[in-house]
Amino acid sequence: MLELHRVARLYGHKVVFRDVSCTCAAGSITLLAGNNGAGKSALLRIMAGLSRPSSGTAHFTMPAPRVGYLAHATFVYPALTALENLTFWREAYGLDIAPADLLAGLERVGLAAHAHEHAGVFSRGMAQRLNLARVLMLEPDILLLDEPGAGLDADSLALLHQEILSARKRGACVTLVSHDLVNDVPLADRVLLLKAGKLAFNGPVTHFRELAGGTEQACCA
Amino acid sequence: MDTLVWVIITNAVVWIGLGAYLIFLALQQHNLAARLTQWEMLRHD
């Protein structure tokens, strides 16, 4: 579904990472791990087509896939209500969804009661749920998540995990950037580990576990 | 003021300007050379 071939990323003169090649298949969850500054977010942006790789190629194997991207930033306009936010994104993405279905989407993330409240008064958890509703509305073929769980309460986190699993069931290709390996490794099918500017590990999660209880600890630290 | 003096002043202004830029370039070059030698010393350590 998603193919990277010898992708490198420079920041000015600094090599963030290079020679990253991998594929992400439909109906699988890939965990993208690495230390701070290893370039996980930069790699995810390249996967999303938000930034160009400094060299190498990144492309989707299917034509015009719907890409959902969920990051720490909530993409929410504080002065619009929850429903207006969602309506705006529907228009911006050119989707044909009835208003009733938009409300159902808010219901799904537990925001139905707050549909007509301004998003500015939302807590971080609520804003991120609204963001999740935006992504779910897309029914993405490719779902890219950049530590969306940071700062969320237990309920929101559980909802997020549930939606990630149902996206996989639907056949989406999910890539998840995470710090929290203890909680997120059980979700994943494959692991990509960025270390010292290279792809240090690329394989199934079982292999990753066998290979290093130690690596896992090192990453969490 | 005499026209000739005026013309000379004009020319002088131009060359002072150009000279100032050349001096700026020279200073920059000097800084770069210093950085380069420092870097080479570090590498030999």
Binding site: L10 | T10, V14
Partner: protein
Amino acid sequence: MRSLSIVPAMLVLSGSLTFACCQWLIYSYAPTEATMGLTQKIFYIHLPLAWWALFSFFLVFVGSVSYLLKRAPGADRLCAAAAETGVLLSGLALVTGTLWARKAWGVWWTWDPRLTTTLIMWFIYAGYLVLRGLNPPPQRKSLVCAVVGIAAFLDVPLVFVSARIWRSIHPAVFAAKDGGLEPEMKLTALGCVVSFGLFWAGLLWLRKRQLDLRDRLDTLASAAQQQ
């Protein structure tokens, strides 16, 4: 370390020397203009400054287009060097222009379309240099500068034409400065432009090479840091 080519330095030197020789053309060969007298001699330095400034800005345009097409960092550095020399030369052209106007017509500034265009260009590219002096993420800065470099050059003809209309609506106080040039004057002016062109090329080359060098040093430094 490979020693640096002496060509640009030679260009600067030979440009200055030939320009010095042109002084003979200016004062002995070219006839003194009838109405303005000696003041008109300023023209011979004013013209090359303005011409090469405009050409520098054209180079910024070319460099910007090629950066957007190929994303080569070298094109971006060429834009930086050309914009700097362009602002320098157009600034000096403005100074000589005002000094000339002061002596010839008793005013510091005339709204002559060419002089006005030079002033606006100076403003535009001075703003461009300010933009370059900022410190956003490097790749983004190059992109933004390239876009501004293109927009700026597309603006130049519009500025010129509008300055022309502006003046013609208000009765022209001063006739065109250098309408009919005598052949000797033309030859002299040409000599000045060419010899100053040598100087300009040397200057641009020096600056571009310097920026290249700085870039390479930065690369080495960050590579060393990463190891």
